[in-house]
């Protein structure tokens, strides 16, 4: 090949083409999505324009501060490498059948996240709706401390370093982990395991992950 201007142009436009086609156009399509109410109503008699319902809450909801600190822990532990946060539609995979969420997730669900953690791996289950499943903070703490306690045979690593084992000083702490009486994972007599601030934030974050609202483009069907 001797036509160098053509070579340069080709090299440039090849990538420019996909940059415009994939990145800029998805930014144009999705970059201005805003919160909305669960349903929309017509604004005029012709029913051509749909608007939000006045006074209804807006979704997705703003994230809460302490849960956001938990998200930082989630990021710093690399949870994303085994857990996705996206629910696929009903006839594609078994996400909804497994109870990972009541509906598929759509772009609007992610607009308030400064870092989107969709993930591409499910060594562990999807967590998009983990806060909406019947698992309370006590369960999450035991599970994080050592996954074998709640999910025997799991390959999830233990996060015991997010907990502090200490001598019980007077009365046991209110937030100490509640091990079963005969649990082989519990602390020695006279000791207790308490979550650090990071563990509490992480659990707060996990409990905040919920797809419990409809969106006009993705209603929860009964």
């Amino acid at each position: 090949m001797k036509n160098l201007p053509l070579l340069f142009c080709g090299i440039f436009f090849a990538l420019a083409f996909s940059f415009v086609g994939l990145i800029l156009s998805s930014h144009i399509q999705l970059g201005s999505l805003t919160q909305t109410t669960e349903t929309l109503v017509p604004s005029d008699a012709d029913e051509t324009v749909l608007v939000m319902v006045e006074g209804d809450p807006l979704y997705p909801a703003q994230p809460v501060g302490f849960a956001q600190q938990g998200k930082d822990v989630y990021i710093s532990m690399g949870c994303i490498y085994c857990h996705s946060q996206q629910v696929r539609r009903a006839d594609f995979g078994a996400d909804i059948d497994r109870g990972w969420g009541p509906r598929q997730t759509v772009p609007r669900d992610y607009i308030l996240q400064d870092r989107v953690l969709l993930g591409t791996m499910r060594t562990g289950p999807d967590l998009a709706h983990i806060g909406g499943r019947p698992l309370n903070a006590d369960w999450h703490h035991l599970h994080l401390y050592n996954p074998q306690i709640t999910s025997e045979g799991s390959t999830m690593p233990p996060y015991a370093f997010l907990y502090e084992t200490r001598e019980i000083d007077g009365a046991p702490s209110a937030d100490a982990l509640q091990f079963a009486v005969d649990s082989e994972y519990g602390p020695d007599a006279g000791y207790e395991v308490v979550p650090t601030r990071r563990a509490k934030a992480l659990v707060e974050y996990l409990l905040s992950l919920k797809i419990n609202y409809s969106l006009p483009e993705a209603p929860i069907l009964e």
Binding site: F12, Q29, R122
Partner: protein, 492 residues
């Protein structure tokens, strides 16, 4: 004459029959020697570090308590440390060595101001070290392929720019009219990589785009690191070294043109197939799938071109350390790309997505294709830079067999295990914990494959440093180190 006829017969070990050409290449080799040596040494060091992280990751995946008490060695961090040590430490350093060397040779342009290149290389490796330590300390970004913390990335970007510009400068001051296919690939990759990296950094880390636009950008970047950076560099190396070693030209100029442009146009749209089924517009996904299928064209074209270039000379291929690795890599390129295109089909992706199948596929591409070709490149380049030969053919054979077997075991184990995992995951009647338990035997097989690769890497490193330091043990007088004992001569 009793020796069998061979194209490589009677050739100088340094490949070119013409003494003037040899003298010119020798000047060019001398001009890049110190920088290339620095990059190869850095690359091999990172390869060994990455191997340690790889083994830790592999063991932890089936034995979660393994080194489980240490926060900095938790799975998510060692996995990310492994990826970045391999991709940016081994991959980029070896590209800087082999790619720039090939570029300089093909442009017939010695490298000037090599001190700046060397300093930029030092800063690249400092930036990467800071980044990997940052990952282990918990500052990783949790953005796939971009885990390096934000305080290390500007240093990486600046030092890359200083390194990459040397390739472009060599091209600018080239001699002669003809521009060979390897030069297109290297020039394009040197230009594409910084664009991808800077856009991804800005749109995901520095000024996050809204919602899933980040994810689209993420996979546009991550897939293109493979497609527009590692792949063209490996193809350039194969295109340069196959004719060099065999002493006959590449089969078809027109096929190489078609292969290059088809890759340039289709590959960079393909990345969004990592989001199939996800919360992104369907038209984006469809565009990605179409591009992924179209990738069959450049892959088949390059496959035919490489195959026709070596056909009939299989004995020479097998005897040459360089070509044994490169042909393994070239065959892997065809295989991994065809599998990759298939994985982009929605019905297939429904099973393979979110499973170890994808992990197997990634190693198939980055290791069986890219890394094997780069090993071949090092086996060819070092004797010419150092004017010495590889001390041990046995170590080269050990390197080849350990890596070839290891990566084959890994890809088969992860893809069979991943396929089963995907089928089970899509059947809600099977408890999730069973899908986890049933992957464990395959993950153990992956750990075994990792031990094979470790043996190969150690053999490679020993041979390399032996050659580098044991100056007295040179065997250049005896001709190149070949992998069987026939006395035919020929090029390594």
């Amino acid at each position: 004459m009793s020796a069998p006829q061979s194209n490589t017969q009677n050739q100088s070990p340094y490949s070119s029959a013409n003494e003037a050409v040899r003298a010119e290449l020798s000047v060019i080799d001398a001009s890049i020697r110190s920088a290339a040596l620095f990059f190869v040494i850095s690359a091999i060091t990172w390869l060994m570090i990455g191997t340690v992280f790889a083994l830790l990751t592999a063991f932890k995946s089936h034995d979660p308590d393994f080194a489980g008490a240490y926060e900095f060695l938790t799975f998510g961090r060692v996995r990310s440390a492994h990826l970045n040590a391999m991709a940016l430490g081994w991959g980029n350093n070896i590209i800087f060595a082999v790619g720039l060397w090939i570029m300089a040779r093909l442009c017939r342009a010695p490298i000037n101001h090599k001190g700046i290149l060397l300093i930029a290389g030092v800063f690249w490796n400092i930036g990467l070290t800071v980044g990997i330590v940052g990952i282990l300390m918990g500052d990783l970004t949790s953005v796939e392929w971009l885990e390096i913390p934000h305080y290390a990335t500007p240093l990486l970007a600046i030092s890359y720019a200083l390194i990459g510009v040397w390739g472009v400068m060599a091209f600018r001051f080239r001699k002669g009219d003809h521009v060979y296919v390897s030069q297109w690939y290297i020039l394009a990759a040197l230009f594409w990589f910084p664009w991808l990296y800077v856009v991804a950094q800005i749109m995901i880390i520095w000024f996050p785009a809204r919602g899933v636009v980040q994810s689209v950008t993420n996979w546009w970047f991550a897939h293109n690191v493979l497609g527009l950076w590692l792949t063209p560099m490996a193809l350039a190396t194969a295109y340069y070294l196959i004719p060099k070693v065999l002493g006959r030209p590449i089969y078809s100029y027109y096929l190489s043109v078609l292969g290059f442009w088809a890759l340039a146009i289709f590959y960079n749209w393909a990345g969004v197939h990592h989001l199939i089924g996800g919360p992104v517009p369907v038209w984006l996904i469809s565009a990605g799938i179409v591009a992924s299928i179209m990738m069959v064209i450049p892959v088949i074209v390059v496959g035919i071109n490489h195959h026709m270039s070596v056909v009939g000379l299989h004995k020479e291929v097998w005897r040459s350390p360089t070509l044994r690795f490169i042909v393994f890599g070239a065959i892997s390129y065809t295989l991994v790309s065809i599998i990759g295109s298939t994985m982009a089909l929605r019905t297939v992706n429904e099973v393979t997505h979110f499973t170890h199948f994808t992990v197997g596929h990634a190693h198939h591409g980055v290791y069986a294709f890219f890394t094997m070709i780069m090993f071949g490149g090092v086996y060819y380049m070092m004797p010419r830079l150092l004017k010495r030969e590889w001390p041990s053919a046995t170590l080269i054979k050990l390197h080849f067999w350990a890596c070839a077997l290891g990566i084959t075991i890994m890809v088969v184990a992860l893809q069979v295990g991943g396929w089963i995992q995907g089928l089970e995951m899509n059947n809600a009647e099977i408890p999730f914990i069973d899908t986890v338990q049933n992957t464990i035997p395959w993950l153990k097989a992956r750990s075994v494959s990792g031990l094979f690769l470790t043996v190969g890497h150690i053999a490679f490193a020993i041979n390399f440093f032996w050659m580098l330091f044991a100056a007295g043990a040179v065997r250049a007088k005896q001709g190149p180190t070949l992998l069987d004992d026939s006395k035919e001569g020929g090029a390594a």
